[in-house]
Symmetry: C2
Subunit: 252 residues, 2 copies
């Protein structure tokens, strides 16, 4: 456990039938996780729920009580299946209405007469929310308390993270060292477990892969103290060398 | 809501720090969802949890009580960070011990003397579980009641699904029709909402994309009655044509 009680934590809530049907391959979780990682904030849990209001409300209320921040993606567009804004309003028990700033952002984007009722839906926010700007499509997301409501389209979601960054309390970033070795992880597992026991301030993960030339394992050391990470990484390298196994450091 | 009380349902529980850190891009959720889709089983929820026993136990017990089936991925290898088997045992309140069939599968795979204590860990299962075979690495997953415990490596996970298929109660498969149109979804949103109201047995999803030549939207009709899906798809096409918008069907 490298997340202690002092560090901010986060959860990600992905909203959308298309992810659960397998039609859409989500990439937002990894993008958000890496972005928060640079700010020293660990994503501790993620959920994917359907476009069903009750499901969104239940998941959001659980997650926002448990973690420092919650990031949602999806369901804030202009169509009937975009129900995230109303669900967030219901989760917080507040009404949803048009936001003047969001209207002012959106209206100039459309030719005269094309800012129709459905498009205006994208300017609705729960009471107390503040817009999250995006430089790609103009349509804003919003923040309400510790919850950041972002678009589902990856390009737009990433643009919104730019506006979110300055609002976050930062933690100590996680440092990592990754060692690649051409060996089956089972052969070195006992030594790895011993190294993990000797270095309780880091987490050592073992990620095997298969290649045509035989097994490869990536051993990833993660921790908030760079010296501890380096000590554990060297202990792994020395243990591999004692077993006659060559290894090399790789970038994450 | 196209999932009714007669159809089997499923949840997916992805286990692993590497997914939540953004180091690993998960693809198992989409693979499992598409596989179950061909069997008429809807994935209704997914969760990603850390390599922390209490987190795995809590999520698994919630999901297995709520859905017909639960599929977990990750954490069943030979290393110290592979804790899924013990967590599943604890979730079910049963002891974990070596499985004779799993030992018999694994032992011949290793040269004499290399089937060490850590590798033998892969033959441990909660009491009452049955092995799930895989043709790629031999190391089995296992089924206990309505829970299927699968590998995290995509190639191995997919091989395990082959052994899982015959064990599942099938539902009526979801039929889909996908219409592509070169239009911003906000322009057609009111018509779409009307079509959705007129076809309550299908779910219409609107998935916008951006291209250099302008906006594109994919309108996806999903339902268990093929005729209803086709009727709704035609209603959308007619509505688009009335607005002077050309469209075409695309494969999913």
């Amino acid at each position: 456990m490298i997340t202690n009680s002092e560090e901010p934590t986060a959860a990600v809530l992905l909203i959308g039938d298309e992810i659960l049907s397998g039609r859409t391959q989500d990439t937002n979780l990894a993008t958000i996780a890496r972005f928060l990682g640079t700010h020293g904030i660990d994503v501790c849990e993620a959920r994917v729920v359907r476009d069903v209001e009750g499901e969104i409300v239940a998941a959001l209320n659980m997650l926002r009580a448990r973690y420092t921040y919650v990031f949602t993606t999806g369901g804030i567009g202009p169509t009937h299946d975009d129900i995230t804004t109303d669900a967030v309003g219901r989760a917080f028990g507040v009404p949803v209405d048009f936001d003047a700033e969001a209207l002012a952002l959106l209206e100039p984007r459309y030719p005269p007469g094309e800012f129709n009722a459905m498009r205006r839906r994208m300017a609705r926010m729960p009471k107390g929310a503040t817009p999250i700007r995006n430089s790609v499509s103009t349509a804003p997301g919003f923040q309400i308390e510790n919850v950041f409501v972002l678009a589902g389209i990856p390009l737009i979601m990433r643009a919104m993270l730019e506006d979110v960054g300055p609002r976050l309390r930062k933690g100590r970033p996680v440092r990592t060292a990754t060692i690649a070795a051409r060996v089956g992880e089972g052969r070195i597992a006992a030594d790895l477990a011993r190294t993990q026991r000797g270095h309780p301030l880091v987490a050592i993960g073992s990620y095997p892969m298969f290649s045509k030339s035989g097994p490869i394992v990536h051993l990833v050391v993660r921790g908030r103290d760079g010296d501890e990470v380096e000590h554990a990484a060297r202990a792994i390298e020395e243990s591999l060398a004692r077993g006659g196994i060559t290894s090399n450091r790789v970038a994450d």
